[in-house]
């Protein structure tokens, strides 16, 4: 790689796996490589991943598969239940492989990552992208598409084009090519433009990504606010979104849950978050560990036709924390940053990263009290309180004592098991019970390895 200077313009590549869950199933099952594949969610058998040929048969993402039973049979569509152990493991491998190609990698989701390709000349980019694609496939068996651009939004758009064109790689750094190709994308295809925003733009005559890019900034700002303005700038080649520097975590803990009934209020979200934090801190204390990074996320129901919002806040702490009250305060700060009024939230969660053992614990300057020669009094009192709390909860059942922030009446947070039974879902569950579609955990369970050979 040529030497990189910070004065070189930033270049982003967005690499994402094609029909990720389906592709994972095909790695150890070559017999289904040429057949349409659908992977279902564990709960209720909705299609969460489809190969292009399955999509072409008219089955939409999120569709309850039970409704398409006949189509499945007719076209020999291969159905699999989610195999998270396998997908998570293969994802790690893809990300580790991508890390070989860039000094800066941002893992965006289980199957997408942004890479910084700063310093590469335009001439080498497509070549390099092809190398990335073929290496990932060789190492892991997962096919990916690579989109390149001077901004994240353009890299995403390029990725979309790469898929449409079938080449698997596409570069939008050239302005003329950009102008030409953005006309082939609808506004709704752009990252950050949901169906509502797309509708708004269509109504004023902005139909393609190119229209949106070339529209007056004032119009866009009036219509879609500062978020829309940023998107437009990104499309114009002005980078507003930088790579989030997520160092590879040694360990991570997550607590999250979907709401039975969607939630609008900040107060209810706070209660849920407080409960998640409490659980996580209990686990931390059990393991004699503390966390230095706390993330809170909230999002709407992706499968519902309603305005979409997904946001995650990240807070770093000076020293590893595991006391519930401190963590709740931090989590609330994060939640308040990301909360937006007017959205129907389906799920919230808390993620703890950068987890360290607390023996010996590194004290931050703020909790260190030079006079007392150790932890500050406040800090020590806190720790003792947590000890008592844990002891009582252990003796009398967890949840006996908890912080008020966790809420007293949390019936609305329980998943809707009190709603009346859905006959179709019941039928699906019976069908599913008879056919367990989950593939073996080829890469994470010793007794589920792929077996090759004669006598079986």
């Amino acid at each position: 790689m040529s030497s990189t200077h910070l004065s070189d313009p930033e270049i982003f590549a967005l690499v994402d796996c094609n029909s990720f869950f389906c592709s994972c199933e095909r790695v150890f099952n070559p017999a289904v490589r040429k057949k349409p594949v659908i992977v279902l969610s564990s709960n209720d058998g909705c299609a969460v991943s489809l190969t292009p040929d399955a999509k072409a048969l008219g089955i939409p993402m999120g569709a309850p598969i039970f409704k398409y039973k006949d189509l499945v049979k007719k076209h020999g569509i291969q159905i699999f239940s989610s195999n998270f152990a396998l997908y998570g493991d293969l994802s790690s491998r893809v990300m580790a492989t991508l890390a070989e190609f860039t000094p800066e990698l941002e893992i965006y989701s289980i199957d997408e990552a942004f890479l910084s390709l700063r310093g590469f000349s335009s001439r080498d980019l497509i070549q390099y992208a092809s190398e990335i694609k073929s290496t990932v496939y060789q190492y892991t068996g997962i096919p990916v598409s690579v989109g390149i651009g001077p901004t994240k939004v353009l890299a995403k758009a390029a990725n979309r084009i790469a898929k449409k064109m079938g080449s698997g790689v596409f570069n939008l750094t050239d302005e003329k090519l950009r102008e030409e190709m953005l006309a082939t994308l609808k506004v709704g295809d752009l990252w950050g433009i949901g169906s509502r925003s797309a509708e708004k733009l269509n109504r004023i005559g902005l139909l393609t990504a190119r229209d949106f890019k070339n529209a007056s900034s004032r119009t866009v700002r009036d219509l879609l606010g500062v978020v829309g303005h940023r998107l437009q700038e990104e499309l114009r080649g002005v980078s507003c979104l930088s790579l989030a520097h997520i160092a590879p975590d040694k360990k991570q803990m997550i607590s999250s849950r979907s709401f039975g009934k969607p939630v609008f209020d900040l107060e209810l979200l706070k209660e849920a978050v407080a409960n998640h934090v409490t659980q996580l801190c209990e686990r931390l204390r059990e393991q004699k560990a503390g966390a230095r990074m706390l993330q809170v996320f909230i999002h709407t129901n992706r499968f519902k036709d309603a305005p979409q919002y997904f946001k995650m806040s990240t807070q770093t702490l000076l020293s590893a924390e595991n006391t519930t009250n401190v963590m709740i305060k931090v989590a609330f700060q994060g939640l308040e940053e990301i909360y937006r009024d007017g959205f129907e939230y389906k799920k919230c969660g808390v993620i703890l990263n950068d987890i360290l053992s607390t023996t010996p614990m590194q004290q931050s300057l703020f909790s260190y009290d030079a006079d007392s020669g150790g932890m500050s009094q406040a800090c020590e009192r806190n720790e003792r309180m947590m000890e008592v709390l844990d002891h009582i909860n252990a003796e009398m059942g967890s949840g006996t004592l908890k912080f008020a922030a966790c809420g007293v009446q949390s019936s609305h947070l329980r998943s809707g098991r009190l709603t009346k039974k859905d006959p179709e879902k019941e039928a699906y569950l019976t069908w599913k019970a008879k056919n367990d579609f989950r593939s073996p955990r080829y890469t994470t369970a010793w007794d589920e390895l792929l077996v090759i050979g004669s006598g079986r």
């Binding site: 070559p30 017999a31 969460v48 998570g88 491998r93 390895l449 090759i452 004669s454």
Partner: protein, 149 residues
């Protein structure tokens, strides 16, 4: 990628072991000579099977052999095979391959321009790879671990 109800997937996804280079929970025993420690204080590392056998963790997979059909290749029933997808297939490599959608283990041979697959049986001349076979190399078998019964 849809973001759906189960939190489990992200839990497993984020424990990305590959960045750490400690890949699997294959912490078998390591040899440690206490005598040596006193005589040669420079002895630092334990023998680690992970680093010894696995050069490219992201591309290394474990597979189980069944039956005695591959005994001429040196593989017996129940053997654990360490397959490395990052290796280039060279003449005389033992490979895990896919032929018409089925897995198969053979030795890969190059005779000039011809490519052949052999079971290593003394009377096996080898089968030539043709386009109809829809042949694809899945990975090179780097190690065969046999546990004597």
């Amino acid at each position: 990628m849809p973001f759906f109800e189960d939190a489990v997937y992200s839990e497993i996804f984020f424990s990305s072991l590959y960045f750490d280079k400690t890949v699997f929970d294959l912490r078998i025993t390591y040899a440690y000579s206490f005598k040596c420690m006193f005589l040669m204080p420079e002895v630092e590392n334990h023998l680690d099977l992970n680093t010894h056998f696995i050069k490219k963790p992201a591309a290394t997979f474990f597979v189980r052999a069944s039956g005695e059909g591959m005994r001429f290749n040196g593989i017996h029933d129940g053997d654990l095979l360490i397959v490395d997808r990052s290796r280039t297939t060279e003449h005389r490599c033992l490979i895990l391959a896919v032929i018409q959608g089925e897995f198969i283990i053979r030795r890969f041979l190059k005779q000039g321009m011809r490519k052949l697959l052999s079971t290593d049986h003394p009377r096996d001349p080898g089968i030539e790879i043709t386009a109809e076979m829809e042949f694809e190399v899945w990975g090179v078998i780097a190690h065969v671990i046999h546990t004597p019964k």
